[in-house]
Symmetry: C2
Subunit: 313 residues, 2 copies
């Protein structure tokens, strides 16, 4: 399955931060960074670019803002082949808080939006491109978008200069056929653009959906160490790299950081496959109700959660 154009993006800190409000130690983030460097991973997404009007520094850690001084404390000037990315959520970032690329260690800004925000996303992405960044649009929760809205959004993206578009299975509700259908649709609507895939694991299909997208010529693949990420988590990086057998990647540095940093953290932060996440995934719902349930005393009462969610047998 070796394809030169394939790029793997580690978003352990960014997506995993959704589980601990980005309260990672510098040592942790540095360990992930160094593992990405050693393993030959193409991109590391080190957090979100956000503005202070949107979040309180009392509540969220530095990787929710990605201030330049925080980044440089961990990666220095990043004199490595790994490119650094940050995600920017529409509505939570003032563009003035994004420095020109030549003043930042960041190489890429990925703009995340819902379908009704697509025009704002294109404007922000254009601004980031003007500042010198690689840029993508990550259209979230596409499993809830009706076909007419999606077609219109893709048309708008198609007319824009944004070069990379992600298929994002935010709720972990898609299976192979959905992915194939969307990849074909995106390819048709967005000729010449690069496609990416960001999968969640609610139905234990994140790895499979990533391979399916890859087989259909998606070239940007998101993954996280030990699948660390919101709720059921993401496509596990170590499985993806073991699968790809691409000579530019090395598995051993990933296993090293997993055993020394990620796996120990999983004792405190229970991401991964759990029945409440399956239920929201199977129902094509945002995982927030499952996250709340998992944080409650009733976390192991799966029947009660199912009944609360739906009259579903």
């Amino acid at each position: 399955m070796y394809r030169k154009d394939v790029k793997v993006l580690d978003c352990t800190v960014r997506d995993g931060g959704l589980m601990n409000n980005w309260q990672f130690s510098d040592d942790f983030v540095r360990a992930v960074y160094e593992a990405c460097v050693e393993a030959g991973i193409d991109y590391m997404e080190i957090g979100y670019k956000s503005s202070e009007f949107a979040f309180s520094r009392e509540e969220v850690g530095p990787w929710k803002f990605c201030d330049e001084e925080d980044l440089r404390r961990v990666v220095g000037d990043n004199q490595t082949p790994v490119k650094l990315s940050a995600m920017a959520d529409i509505g939570r970032i003032d563009p003035v808080d994004i420095l020109p690329a030549n003043e930042s260690v960041l190489d890429m800004i990925r703009v995340a939006c819902y379908v009704h925000q697509i025009d704002k996303a294109i404007v922000l992405a254009q601004d980031c491109m003007d500042k010198g960044y690689e840029t993508s649009i990550n259209l979230m929760a596409v499993s809830k978008v009706n076909e007419m809205d999606l077609d219109e959004a893709l048309q708008d993206i198609g007319k824009s200069p944004v070069p990379i578009i992600y298929i994002v299975d935010s709720f972990g509700s898609m299976y192979s056929q959905n992915i194939q259908y969307l990849v074909e649709k995106y390819k048709k609507a967005l000729p010449g653009k690069i496609l990416g895939i960001h999968a969640h694991n609610n139905m234990q299909l994140a790895m499979s959906n990533t391979i399916t997208a890859l087989s259909s010529n998606c070239n940007m693949l998101d993954a996280t160490l030990l699948g660390m990420g919101r709720g059921a988590g993401n496509c596990p990086m170590e499985i993806l790299i073991a699968f790809l057998k691409n000579p530019k990647y090395r598995l051993l540095p990933l296993l090293d950081v997993i055993q020394n940093h990620i796996h120990p953290l999983q004792q405190d932060i229970p991401w991964g496959y759990h029945v409440p996440y399956l239920i929201t995934g199977a129902l094509n719902e945002h995982p927030r109700s499952a996250l709340k349930w998992m944080a409650s005393e009733n976390r192991d009462d799966f029947v009660a959660f199912m009944k609360e969610m739906h009259d579903y047998e």
Copy 2:
């Protein structure tokens, strides 16, 4: 994805027993049985048929033998639509220990064999058919079988009256393309026979591979509650049933037995995705070395296990 001919087989006790030497309480087995009945599952595999020359009753529990009195203590005369199955391993069963079907609550014997045992498997399966059982052959570890041996085995099976043949990913090393390839090969070599799929989760592809097989017209689907099974475990029954949306199945009884019996057991018996199982799966190796590693004090030293297994980066 509703297809009338699809049959789901629960092998929680049989495959899960590989993790605890089939030392399940009657209450546990009864709870699984009752959940299968309530949920409309088609078959429940309640253990192995084995002979005493092969195993010691000091070491393994009753579900490794499936004596009639043990079965009836749990299921009575099984006056339910659920059919009961037991697996018989070539070399570990004397056919005289398999009663005629009309004297047993078992409805089906699944004969498991490696490729070099295929002739013995056909003879045993024929004996079981003569005794009145539904019968299948489950050709294990097919990911290690060379093409000529496989073609010959399929030819032999094709000439036999055995009606059901399983594709068995014993090592959890297969992905979608492998499954598709094998299903097409089996279909071509075995016209008129029913195909089944038994997947393992080392690369988190068990659910996906089961769907892939289903899409290619495999009609017998193995799964286990919460994926309980050897090593990384199996296709999780609750995900499969949530996915199938087949009106004959109900999810809630499965969630109930999971929360009351299966999930609590996972605290003591750590089946499921763990990095050592990924490593044996990715290397297409039997999980025994990973199982041994997971039972040792070094279980969380993934790098050392990787280095022991292979010079693999």
